[in-house]
Symmetry: C2
Subunit: 324 residues, 2 copies
């Protein structure tokens, strides 16, 4: 039997980097994980190329790896670079100045396999379109709700990269004028309200606002996580439910604006916070419909990713591997 073509998909996260060997049907044959926390770029690249070489050796019997697709924060599809990635220590020099890292070239030079790079949210959108609930959809917006809020916008079947490859920073559109300070330097960004950390900020604000009883008061106010709020909501905690209502309302308002831009068939949510969808869906839809033009009311779907978080990122990145 002749050997099949395979690709490797790599998801560079703030904490860890996940790798997977994927076949043409989207099966992940082998997987591995390395830490993303190296301080020096050289060390990280060494770890990553070792992991790639190990996978290539591991799948030798199954087929040949013809391409590598990488999804990384602020990955530039056009240039193959990583720039301005706030959560990656090795992306900054010893003075804390962000470097322009020729990431795709660094890797491909060492492993002798062509590499295509994009940002993590775009990779997730490609994964969803190729293997998930967006299969067959030509126009949708994927919103990733994690530590930050990212987005991958698909128009006419293609990821929107824009003039400089950095399109789709919907987490940094202003949703509340002069609102919460964002790590990016702006104020009122969507991310400051609807990321996991944004929801935790809401909890803190609400707890300090008055003395409404809540299970959350048993916790250290500075360490409350979105998971804690979810657990409390599950037990019917009113304040926790109010936190999700507030979050969902803001999402709906933001999504309504996104719809006015690209008139998608669906908004698709992805990432940790979607575990709380039972407390979010109805209110997001209500708020979205209240804030859209009549012609869209009730017509734009709100969906959730059907891929496991880690799979979607690896599969999405791997789909780029076929493009090389």
């Amino acid at each position: 039997m002749s050997k099949q073509d395979l690709v490797i998909g790599i998801d560079v996260g703030g904490q860890s980097t996940k790798l997977g060997v994927v076949d043409a049907r989207g099966n992940i044959l082998y997987q591995s994980v390395i830490s993303s926390l190296q301080r020096e770029l050289d060390d990280y690249i060494s770890d990553l190329t070792s992991a790639i070489n190990d996978l290539v050796a591991q799948c030798k019997e199954d087929g040949n790896v013809k391409g590598i697709g990488i999804g990384a924060p602020n990955g530039n599809y056009y240039k193959g670079t990583i720039e301005f990635a706030p959560n990656l220590k090795w992306a900054y020099d010893s003075n804390g100045t962000p470097m322009v890292i020729q990431f795709a070239k660094l890797i491909s030079d060492r492993v002798n396999i062509p590499v295509v790079l994009t940002n993590d949210a775009n990779a997730a959108a490609v994964g969803e379109m190729t293997y998930g609930i967006a299969k067959g959809m030509k126009n949708f917006i994927m919103i990733t709700l994690g530590t930050g809020v990212g987005s991958g916008i698909v128009i006419n079947g293609n990821i929107v990269y824009g003039h400089d490859a950095f399109a789709g920073e919907l987490g940094h559109t202003t949703i509340i004028r002069d609102g919460r300070e964002c790590g990016c330097g702006l104020k009122g960004c969507l991310e400051t309200y609807t990321s996991a950390t944004g929801v935790a900020r809401t909890a803190k604000e609400f707890l300090q606002r008055d003395n409404t009883p809540s299970l959350l008061r048993n916790l250290d106010i500075d360490r409350i996580s979105s998971k804690d709020i979810y657990d409390a909501a599950k037990q019917g905690d009113k304040l926790a439910l109010e936190i999700f209502d507030f979050t969902a309302d803001i999402m709906g308002k933001a999504f309504a604006n996104f719809v006015a831009f690209s008139a998608p068939e669906a908004i698709i949510l992805f990432g940790g916070l979607t575990k709380a969808k039972e407390f979010l869906t109805e209110k997001i839809e209500k708020s979205m419909n209240e804030n859209m033009l009549k012609m869209w009311k009730g017509k734009v779907k709100l969906l959730y990713s059907t891929l496991k978080d880690s799979d979607a990122a690896i599969l999405g990145a791997s789909a780029l591997g076929w493009e090389v």
Copy 2:
């Protein structure tokens, strides 16, 4: 000499409908205008088909009209229909209910020439890309500042139509939460601040706010036009300048959000209000740069259409005529 191919471009405006015969190089060979104010659809269609037939007869010596492109409010590119067009009387039945008008088909059946339809802002963007300052640009957003605020979004060289052909309603994105009431039923839409009528609303608000002396106080407060404000600003009137500052600031904030979506090379402004660009440009750029992520600051161009208003719409619509 064999006859050349020609197209007809038609711009359906709220007041008048402009037609032009255009050659492959973008020269408008013949033009005509009819009123858009007919009450009955049949009457309007008769007027329009007569005007088309007259132009076809007129250009018989020059060439053959192979296609017709039409830009119309709420024109649906996919279906060839006009739906929900608030400013066209003949688009509503006698009960005031909006009709779904098979516009492209109605015209092509009568004149026996294929017809392609899109909305007016998209047509303007195509015109700018084919013949104007956006020549060669692959990613830009055209904002039309007229009685309303429209937009034509170009990504990767193509107009963004979205799932239902109604993408690009940036005039109805929320810029001030719970702000001014908009004709569309929503609140705080960009259009309520930066259209010609929006600027007049600002003038009224500012005049009623206090007693700052202003040339505008010599005018009927309910009939002040953006032209009046421009004239006053030209004479150094402080309040008029403040009105433009306020308008420009809002535009900049809105444009910053649009940049986060599609990372365009340029925002291009078009329409009546751009006559006041000497009072707008600097402040729009300042506000836009203050509200964008670092990687975009100072990099996204703010440009003005280089086509005459009426020409851009006819040329843009005509460009669609070649697609038939």
